[in-house]
């Protein structure tokens, strides 16, 4: 009994000592510490090298410390920082579809452009930056990576099915999907004709609607982004919805109610999808023999689909950008790093060639060396420069729009609502949401 008491006491003492030891902070470093947080993943893997180089350059002045947080927890962490006005992190990651919602917490970068004589439009392209501007047309973040949802297709399967030209209209997509779907002996499906139809998570359905809708030149929101788009009531939306409904009804794609953003990538890389609309950075995965069964058999293209809406066709996209917290005490240092990593052709090219980051700088996108390495660059470049990008969530009511689309698409795809009803519901609900009527 006595030795047990002694053991317990010793254990407690040890723990206490450990806690004290780790709570002690060592002498304050002379350099200013500037903290950046990003999502885990490729960007987080591309940064450490560059941060090391940057810290070398600015030794004694400031030092960048990076942290990576899992994707789902990133926005909560950032919002906590903004709401409590405690700038834990100086450099903020801004996903394209968050831009409008976060802009009030970010420091506009115009003064820095003036100081360093930077013409952002030239470096990144006007279209690419449009989404990152606030109502005063100031940029609140600079893009560090670019991405768009493009069509991934199996060159071998298309050839086999006798499809020589990529589908250009909805009926052509339907036909192609029918030809490409291979059913297996026991009633299951060996290969689905087309993927990209998803409605599992609340954020999954909006892109699924948006890329076909936008490829046809229609939108969810009007051009001023203050109301539902009249396109929702026009035949063009009905055709898109009926197409999406038919594909699911005929079993040409997996059941969207249990299909989320990660499912397309896994299924396509394992050869279960003949075509799909996937996020462009995944092209790297498809060409990696350690992760993909379809290396060398994949083609990439812009999802083109006979525009009949009132707007110009656009791709659905979002890429990461970097911004500065309004309350950060280290704005100049933060800017130096942002400039170093985004508006810098050399560094962007380095990160791009390492395969860890799809560049946002136009000149790198145009670089033949890069094009030779990454096969998806063609479509992405075209989208960034001439085709255009858009997202329905990039307004303050973004998440509520996502939820409306999610609910309605689930109702349609589970057979509980007809496409016509869904089109009307989308318009009515979004209109009510945006205008309060």
């Amino acid at each position: 009994m006595k030795s047990r008491k002694v053991n317990l006491a010793l254990a407690m003492l040890l723990v206490l000592v450990l806690v004290m030891a780790s709570a002690v902070s060592f002498g304050a470093p002379k350099e200013k510490v500037v903290k950046i947080i990003t999502s885990t993943g490729s960007l987080a893997k591309a940064l450490p090298e560059q941060i090391k180089a940057f810290n070398e350059l600015h030794k004694g002045e400031y030092r960048i410390e990076a942290e990576a947080e899992s994707l789902n927890s990133l926005l909560p962490k950032l919002m906590t920082q903004f709401i409590t006005k405690v700038p834990t992190y100086d450099i903020i990651p801004v996903d394209g579809k968050w831009s409008r919602r976060l802009e009030k917490y970010l420091y506009p970068l115009e003064p820095f452009f003036k100081k360093d004589k930077i013409n952002a439009n030239e470096i990144f392209g006007e279209k690419a930056l449009a989404g990152r501007r606030n109502n005063k047309k100031q940029l609140t973040s600079l893009p560090v990576s670019s991405s768009a949802f493009i069509l991934f297709y199996r060159t071998d399967l298309l050839k086999e099915a006798g499809i020589t030209k990529l589908p250009q209209t909805l009926p052509e997509y339907l036909e192609a999907a029918r030809k490409l779907t291979k059913r297996s002996a026991n009633g299951g499906v060996e290969v689905y004709g087309i993927g990209g139809f998803r409605a599992m998570g609340t954020a999954d359905a909006a892109p699924a609607l948006a890329y076909f809708l936008q490829a046809r030149g229609a939108r969810v929101l009007n051009s001023k982004k203050n109301d539902a788009s009249p396109d929702l009531k026009k035949p063009v939306t009905l055709e898109v919805l009926e197409f999406m409904n038919t594909v699911v009804k005929e079993g040409l794609c997996p059941n969207p109610l249990s299909w989320d953003q990660y499912s397309d990538r896994q299924a396509f890389s394992q050869g279960k999808l003949a075509m799909s609309v996937i996020f462009s950075p995944i092209a790297g995965v498809m060409e990696d023999p350690k992760q993909s069964k379809v290396v060398g058999k994949v083609g990439y293209a812009i999802l083109k689909c006979d525009p009949a809406g009132s707007e110009k066709p656009a791709a659905y996209s979002s890429g990461w950008g970097l911004g500065i917290d309004k309350n950060s005490p280290n704005k100049e240092a933060a800017w130096e790093f942002i400039k170093f990593i985004t508006a810098n052709e050399k560094i962007q090219k380095e990160m791009a060639m390492s395969g860890k980051n799809d560049p946002a700088v136009l000149s790198v996108l145009n670089d033949p060396e890069y094009a030779a390495k990454i096969k998806s660059v063609g479509p992405v470049r075209e989208i960034m420069t001439s085709y255009g990008m858009d997202m329905p969530q990039d307004v303050e009511q973004g998440t509520e729009i996502e939820m409306i689309i999610h609910e309605e698409l689930q109702l349609m795809w589970s057979g509980r609502k007809a496409p016509k009803e869904v089109a009307n519901a989308l318009y009515d609900r979004i209109h009510k949401l945006m205008t309060g009527k």
């Binding site: 903290k35 899992s70 962490k77 906590t80 350690k290």
Partner: protein, 279 residues
């Protein structure tokens, strides 16, 4: 004969229960031993050559692929979980003795309030807690996280231990009092030895809660005190879920609670009872 039948049916039922409990966890372990291609393979692969690649990624591997240094996360989790369990059980046992053995004004009220503190879902409290921590300088410190875990686990620990103390008949303590024993002595020499199974069970559960907590850790830490659950979830990236390292980290995270439970079993299966009370 009846006894053999009874015993073998008990073994059967227990084995079935174990299989049901373990099978999904085995799947996690299998995923951690697969190569990246095999983790995604369709149809799922049941037979494969195991590789420690995912584990290597967590503990070394080359600089550009490995963004995770598991040793630091393990250390943080250990320190915070262990110390908060100790502190929690200490405070809780004291409080539980009071609630069980004393009669005082507001006792019922206090008991209910203690439990009620756990009835408000923690999600909404994240922001004020963050503010308290920032202002008190506890943000991103081991001490801070320790206190947070203690605060969330004390209510359960107090009520659980109190339930086990209630089960101990008071006669022994009365006898000890007659012999001149102090209150604290009674706690130490009588109550604790007899309620050791209950305390061990509560401590094990408290440890598991502290070890596995994610939302508080995410809110209240930055680079210094990141814990294991955060590592496991960090493999959810915009480019996809990295099943290999994620399941490897989850498997490793499973080991300390298992070890803790194995130790707790010693106290759990004591079978020593209040044989001291005769009629």
């Amino acid at each position: 004969m009846k006894k053999i039948l009874k015993k073998s049916s008990i073994y059967t039922v227990l084995s079935i229960a174990v299989i049901i409990s373990i099978l999904p966890v085995l799947w996690i372990i299998m995923l951690s031993l697969k190569s990246p291609m095999e983790t995604m393979a369709l149809p799922p692969k049941l037979f494969f050559k195991p590789t420690l690649e995912s584990y290597r990624m967590l503990f070394g591997g080359n600089e550009t692929t490995n963004v995770v240094d598991l040793k630091m996360y393990l250390k943080n989790s250990f320190i915070v979980a262990f110390s908060s369990t100790l502190v929690t059980m200490l405070f809780a046992t004291l409080g539980a003795y009071s609630l069980s053995r004393f009669r005082f004004k507001g006792k019922n009220m206090i008991s209910i309030i203690i439990l009620a503190t756990r009835m408000l879902p923690p999600l909404a409290s994240a922001i004020p807690l963050f503010l308290i921590f920032q202002n008190a300088g506890l943000f991103d410190t081991h001490l801070g996280l320790l206190m947070a875990y203690t605060a969330i686990n004390i209510p359960f620990a107090i009520w659980m231990v109190r339930g086990f103390i209630d089960d101990v008949p008071v006669e022994i303590e009365e006898a000890a009092h007659v012999d001149g024993c102090s209150r604290f002595g009674m706690l130490w020499k009588i109550i604790i030895p007899v309620t050791t199974p209950g305390i061990a069970a509560s401590a094990a559960y408290t440890f598991i809660l502290a070890w596995n907590d994610f939302s508080l850790a995410m809110m209240l830490t930055s680079s210094n005190v990141k814990t294991m659950p955060q590592v496991v979830l960090s493999f959810l990236t915009p480019e996809g879920i990295e099943y290999g390292p994620m399941t490897a980290a989850a498997t490793i995270a499973l080991l300390p609670p298992i070890i803790f439970i194995i130790f707790a079993q010693k106290y759990l299966a004591r079978g020593l009872t209040m044989g001291a009370v005769k009629g």
